[in-house]
C-alpha cells in the first residue's frame, strides 16, 4: 500500500496466517485480550507517548472518513525491553505522524498490541521491528 492510499485516515483489518511477525506476549499479563490472528493498520497522529512500566503506551488520533477523530490506545512492551531494543523516551512525540500496525482488542474497543510502527516516511521507529 502506498502512502497515498493512507492520505485519509485508513483502518485496514488484515487476516494474517503467520504470527511470526508479532511482538511477544508480555511478562506482566496475559495477552489473550488481543486477537493475534488479525492486524489493524492505523495512520494517525501521536497525542501521547507514555514511557512507563509495566508497559509503554501510545495514544494515537486517527481521523475517520466522516471527519471525526478516533482515539486509539496501543500497548507496547516495557521500557526496560524497548530501551535495549533501541527505543528512547523521546522516540515518539505528540504531533508525530505515524503508521502503526496492531493486534486489535477482541472486544472491538479502539485499542491493541503494537506489532510495528513507522514514521511518515515509512522508516521504522524505535528499535528493530523484527
Amino acid at each position: 500500500m502506498t502512502t497515498t492510499a493512507y492520505s485519509r485516515a485508513l483502518v485496514t483489518t488484515l487476516l494474517v496466517t503467520l504470527a511470526a511477525i508479532a511482538l511477544p506476549v508480555s511478562a506482566h499479563h496475559s495477552f489473550a485480550n488481543f486477537d493475534d490472528t488479525k492486524q489493524v493498520t492505523l495512520k494517525g497522529t501521536v497525542s501521547e507517548f507514555q514511557w512507563t512500566n509495566p508497559h509503554a503506551w501510545l495514544e494515537v488520533e486517527v481521523a475517520s472518513t466522516d471527519g471525526t477523530t478516533e482515539k486509539w490506545s496501543v500497548e507496547m512492551l516495557s521500557p526496560n525491553v524497548l530501551g535495549r531494543m533501541g527505543w528512547k523516551r523521546n522516540s515518539l512525540k505528540p504531533g508525530d505522524e505515524v503508521t502503526v500496525v496492531i493486534h486489535p482488542l477482541r472486544t472491538g474497543a479502539k485499542g491493541g498490541n503494537m506489532v510495528s510502527i513507522q514514521d511518515k516516511n515509512g522508516v521504522p521507529i524505535g528499535g528493530p521491528q523484527q
Binding site: 511477544p24 506482566h28 496475559s30 512500566n53 526496560n80 535495549r84 531494543m85 477482541r106 528493530p128 523484527q130
Partner: protein, 271 residues
C-alpha cells in the same frame, strides 16, 4: 567446574527432561559472546556479582551478543502455563483445576498482573534479567521483573521455627557453599503465592532447594527442586540457565507506575 565445554551444558540440559523443553539450551552461537565472570572473591568463592539474563528471556531475545534481534522460538515470556508440573494430590488437584478455570474466565488475575511480586520460585524465571550482589553474609538477587529482591542468608544455619516464621513472597532462604556450588534452602512462602503462572498451589510444607553452579564460564545453572508432599506426588524439578551480561545494568521497574491492564480489584481494564 569451569572449563566444561558447551556440549556438557547441552547434555546437562537434555537430562532435565520436560524442563529442558521448557527452557531450551542456548545455541552455541549465543554462548560464544558470553563474557567470563569476575575473579574469585578473597574467600575463594566464585564471584557472580553482576547482571544475568536467561537465554530465551526478553532481553536476550532482542539483544543477543550477535546483535541479531527477533523472537526466538519458545521465547521465555512466561505468561503461559508450564507443562512440566508433576501430578497433584487431592484436594489440591481439584483446587488447581478450579483456579485454572477461573483464571481462564478472567475471574482471578495473576498476582503479577496486579503488580504483586512474583514470589519464589517464579521470580527465578527472570523474564528480563537479574542482578546478583555477593557479600560474605548475604547474597542478594534482584529480578528486574517487578523489582523483586530475595536475600539468601549465608551466615544463618537454620530457618526460624515454622510457627514463628512470617510467611513472605520470597520466603526465608539460607545458603551455604558445597565446593563451587551454592546450595540454597527456602521455606516460609505465603499461601497465596502461586508457584507459576496458572495458579499452581502449594501447602505450608513447601520447600525449595536450589543448587547454583557455573557450569562453564559465564553460564550459571540453578537446579530447582520444589518439594511439597501434601501437593505433589513427586518433587517438581527443573533447571534455569543464566548468562552473564556485564554490559547490562538493572533498570527500575515499578509496576504500579502505570498499570492500565488490571485495576485495584484485579479486574481487567484494557479490554
Amino acid at each position: 567446574m569451569k572449563g566444561w565445554p558447551v556440549t556438557v551444558l547441552a547434555l546437562t540440559l537434555a537430562a532435565a527432561g520436560p524442563a529442558a523443553a521448557q527452557f531450551p539450551a542456548p545455541p552455541p552461537e549465543q554462548l560464544k559472546g558470553t563474557p567470563v565472570t569476575p575473579a574469585r572473591l578473597p574467600d575463594g568463592r566464585p564471584n557472580w556479582t553482576g547482571f544475568w539474563v536467561t537465554p530465551n528471556g526478553l532481553l536476550e531475545v532482542y539483544r543477543g551478543p550477535s546483535g541479531v534481534s527477533g523472537q526466538a522460538p519458545g521465547a521465555n515470556t512466561r505468561s503461559t502455563r508450564r507443562q512440566d508440573i508433576p501430578p497433584l494430590k487431592s484436594p489440591y488437584e481439584e483446587r488447581y483445576a478450579e483456579a485454572l478455570r477461573r483464571s481462564a474466565a478472567g475471574e482471578i488475575p495473576d498476582l503479577v498482573a496486579a503488580c504483586f511480586p512474583p514470589g519464589m520460585p517464579r521470580m527465578m524465571v527472570m523474564v528480563y534479567g537479574m542482578e546478583i550482589l555477593q557479600t560474605p553474609k548475604i547474597i542478594s538477587i534482584t529480578s528486574e521483573w517487578q523489582a523483586a529482591t530475595r536475600r539468601i542468608w549465608m551466615d544463618v544455619k537454620e530457618h526460624p521455627p515454622a510457627d514463628e516464621l512470617d510467611p513472605t513472597y520470597m520466603g526465608d532462604s539460607i545458603g551455604h557453599w558445597e565446593g563451587d556450588t551454592l546450595v540454597v534452602d527456602t521455606v516460609g512462602i505465603r499461601d497465596d503465592v502461586p508457584l507459576d503462572f496458572g495458579q499452581v498451589p502449594h501447602s505450608p510444607k513447601l520447600t525449595i532447594k536450589e543448587r547454583f553452579t557455573e557450569i562453564s564460564p559465564g553460564v550459571l545453572v540453578d537446579e530447582i527442586t520444589i518439594d511439597d508432599p501434601d501437593v505433589f506426588k513427586e518433587p517438581w524439578k527443573y533447571k534455569m540457565v543464566y548468562l552473564y551480561r556485564p554490559g547490562l545494568r538493572l533498570k527500575e521497574y515499578v509496576c504500579l507506575e502505570n498499570n492500565r491492564n488490571v485495576d485495584a480489584n484485579g479486574q481487567a481494564v484494557f479490554k
